[in-house]
């Protein structure tokens, strides 16, 4: 028995059409579940029961896969996060931020269940996987009653724990475009305690494409410093098309503070986040530079 969770009906559709049909029928009363590590935990300090009228389990929709193609890498939304660590490609310089974020996400036990799509759909501003995916300009594929649509990841997050999917839509896939070979990416997570399951005070991912000290592409993604995880276009423009020097990197890192709106909470004060975000961006950019030149 548990007293904190109340679910009226559990659905386990065997195909996508059925899943969309159930979601369309119950609208806001329905909630999608994959691994369940965001939906099922007891909420400390919340007295009332967590009530879900219709829970729709998407584990039988064939969304657990990673496909490496010529122009993109496709990750099924219900792929457990542990799987990312087993893909050698994600440890290569262009995609290394992804394996670093997967590593930092939580413990192996949680990552056996927690899914890539769940980390996105929970739409937390500090969700670790969102940052490398923002830096790699991923595209999200969703399905609804009118068919499928693609959503650029930069349009996906709308507010704290609020994202672009309609009540009757399901996230199917995360598409990562292939990055040029002369690309390096990095992810850094600052946490209060060095425990596996602690959430980020600030987390960042950066990606640089360049050769012979010249920066072609710079992308910077910031977590836990605004209501949503976001890119820092101002800081990116400091680097893109310029010489990739230590001075330029410091300048870009100093700019990000103008693009954020952090709050103070149980994990850190807003002022501390403002201080740290530049430090993390500078370090991540330096690592990205080494990797893209390596």
């Amino acid at each position: 028995m548990n007293a904190y969770l109340l679910i009226d009906e559990y659905h386990r559709p065997q195909d996508l059409a059925k899943a969309v049909e159930i979601l369309s029928k119950f609208g806001r009363k329905a909630k999608v579940i994959a691994g369940g590590t965001d939906i099922l935990p007891r909420r400390p300090g919340v007295g009332k029961t967590h009530y879900i009228a219709h829970l729709v389990d998407i584990s039988d929709l064939g969304l657990n896969y990673i496909k490496s193609e010529n122009r993109r890498i496709r990750i099924g939304a219900a792929t457990p996060i542990n799987t990312l660590g087993a893909i050698a490609e994600f440890s290569s310089a262009p995609y290394q931020a992804l394996s670093e974020a997967a590593d930092a996400h939580s413990s192996p036990t949680i990552k056996n269940r927690a899914t890539v799509g769940g980390n996105l759909c929970n739409a937390s501003a500090c969700a670790d996987l969102t940052l490398p995916l923002l830096a790699m300009d991923a595209t999200l594929l969703a399905a609804g009653p009118d068919g499928q649509r693609e959503i650029p990841i930069t349009d996906f997050f709308r507010g704290a724990n609020y994202m672009a999917l309609d009540d009757n839509e399901i996230l199917l896939e995360i598409c990562i475009p292939r990055q040029p070979e002369n690309t390096g990416s990095a992810f850094i997570k600052l946490r209060r305690q060095q425990t596996a399951i602690d959430m980020a005070v600030v987390n960042v991912a950066t990606l640089l494409t360049g050769s012979r000290g010249h920066c072609e592409v710079a992308r910077i993604a910031l977590g836990a410093v605004a209501p949503i995880a976001l890119r820092a276009p101002g800081a990116e423009s400091v680097l893109a098309g310029k010489k990739l020097t230590g001075k330029a990197i410091s300048e870009a890192a100093a700019t990000v503070v103008e693009e954020i709106s952090p709050i103070g909470d149980i994990r850190a004060t807003a002022a501390y986040r403002r201080e740290m975000v530049g430090v993390l961006v500078r370090r991540a950019l330096e690592t990205s530079r080494q990797r893209c030149e390596g």
């Binding site: 679910i7 691994g35 007891r42 269940r113 399951i197």
Partner: protein, 161 residues
Amino acid sequence: MNTINIRIQVNGSWQELAVKPDDRLIDVLRDQLDLTGTKEGCGQGECGTCTVNLNGHAVLSCLILAAQADNCAIVTIEGLHKGSELHPLQRAFVSEAAVQCGYCTPGMIMAAKPLIDMDAEASEGKIRQHLSNNLCRCTGYDQPVRAVLKAAKEIKEDTNA
């Protein structure tokens, strides 16, 4: 009240059960099957004391609905010994004094088992990483880590013998 009929394999034997939509796996293991070796600590995925193995992977039974485990094979702490012979992990936890109050022990052992089954040469660092979701408030972590290293060594020697 809606019930869902599920079929799960628990410690080697298939069970057909009627569960409620909000029954978690731990609720069914403890309350329907009387397998009280699996403990509930925090109910929010932080303490790891409810860790069991599902299809050979360590998972938290407080963060899985029983209905989600339909058709899966589950192993709990009660499924490790063979007759009167304890599993090497159980023996090592005793001999290395890795047990004090014992509440976290089943979870620790079930978190370690898939790791050493897969990699009997797992480093101490890797073992610590795999036990990072298991809190102990008595002995600390050195003894459990030593116990896992010892059990892994024993399993490896048995395989080579």
